[in-house]
Amino acid sequence: MTRLSLGKWLLPLYTALALIFLMVPIVYTFVFSFNDSLKSNITWRGFTLDKWLNVCAVQNGAVCEAFGNSLIIGLAATVIATTLGTMIAIALVRYRFKFRAGTSLLLFLPMATPEVVLGAGLAAQFLSLGVPKDMLTIILAHTMFCISFVVVTVKARVAGLDPALEEAGRDLYGSPGQVFARITFPLLLPGILAAALLSFALSFDDFIITNFNSGAVTTFPKYIYISASRGIPAEANVIASAVFILALVIVVTAQVSAAARAKRQARLA
């Protein structure tokens, strides 16, 4: 009896503590985005909406520029990596070719290699090839490591796709293009979307590899790293909070609509 009641409050308490522990930095960041700070944002000086309303005003808009760069790089790397990665994943599962196992292994390497090594290696490569470091080199670097994650994610989805479905499509007068567009692609889409989301998240918060290959271009993580040494401005808190809230809204919307869909299907069945 005592053991039972102990479990009754111990588990919720433990869960609550764990959640609080995880949430503290996020709440701190959020709260201090409203701080009426001066140069550094360490002590609470009073509530203001100023920072939210004029995010881009500080340091000639350096925060916003860095954020914009990260968005462009993230989107470009995601589109390229997802397209190439999906094609590679389909080829690896569906076709037998020479060096197939080797290709699989090579694709795995960027995930296993320490980022510092990868970043330094790429930097050396760009240097010896005489490629100037700018936005393009960052996109190339991000695409490279994102492809690995895309291939792994999409490959699982392709492996779970019954080849008989595509055969049925061909059997029902679908040309190879039509079969891909109407059967293969729609069925792989959840995997492809997950891979794209993962790519964007990885690219958006990458610091180490970016730092080696960015030259004069500043991304959001790089900006925060640099400004951390002399006090991060509250505008950075604003952007970080905004990104967090956006992600939260997306997740909640997806969950709610999935629950609604499940309910609708349960009613139909």
């Binding site: 055969e167 039509q178 139909l268 069945a269």
Partner: protein, 400 residues
Amino acid sequence: MSSGAFADRGADLELVGIQKRFPGFTAIEHLDLVIPAGSFFALLGPSGCGKTTTLRLVAGLEDPTDGRILIGGQDVTTQKAYQRPVNTVFQSYALFPHMTVLENVAFGLRRRKIADALGKAHEALRLVELDHLAARKPVQLSGGQQQRVALARAIVNRPALLLLDEPLGALDLKLRRQMQLELKTIQEEVGLTFLHVTHDQEEAMTMADTIAVMNKGRIEQMGAPEQLYELPKTTFVANFLGQSNLFTGPVVGETSAAIAVDIAGRSIVVPKTRSHRHAGGVTIGVRPEKLTLHRDKPTLDAGSNVMGPGRVTDVSFTGVSTQYLVTVPGVGVLIVFEQNRSFGPVEGEGDEVWVTWNVEHGFGLDDDPVAPDPKFVADTTTKSIAAQRRAALVTELEEA
């Protein structure tokens, strides 16, 4: 397929000298086959005999190593799957999970840009009595309903030839019977040519008007179900299609109508019209349900064959009939089916019995028991054995 055209009726299917090799093993050694338009043709064989490969070749999902495929007299060997006037009901049904039942059925019509695809899809769904479920997704249907959707999705295209790949394998007994009946009705209604691949001999016999028994990449025997059952040509057919009691011995006597074969000192008579070989060593047989058990030594008469005395070594009651295993010294074990006319089995284990059968019920095989003619030269390299073993395991896992 000339787009837009619906076949009025089924078309002949002709396979000429088909051979199919995969890396490491040969799936089809040499196949010549003509399936006349409008027939219900079953390819029957154990797993790994090449029957599914044959079906996939006809569908265009595999290319033959050698030989030609003709549908309605037109050579389709080089045509792709989507260009052939053929549709398949897949073993796993292969319904598109992201489309509704209606969209699934309309898929083929839409690809061929046929007018009123949805109306025709509804019509096909009414034929399989599932129109009220048109808006559902395949996962929301039971196995039997999915099977009927797969069938509707294929026949709505009015293919010249409908291929069925063990489509009833996943259903329980009652549903199987129901679907077998439904398939037969639909075939009679729409008059298509059906090519049905199965390893279930009972299913093949109830549904098909012609059966080809396949073994090791070749057709062993082809004909009407009754003919195959009554007069099997090979040991394989005799044992795969139902059960058989087979005996081997030399021909010791001959009249104008029958031959007498010496089986362990007993003379067994088989009519010449029911035996493929009339001299030398022969294998003869009789079906278990044609045998009668006697407790006392039966009096010899010219119309029947006698074996015995033997001992009943096993009795198993199966409801309609009882299966006895009778061991006859010098001959071996005979299987006997007796209908349960009285209450329960009439003989017990250990009883001494004689077995008789009407001379007219025996049959003689075409197989030469002395020098078995190698019908299929097996590729016995380790690579090939490994490949075949793998294929067998894959089928086994899929069937499980």
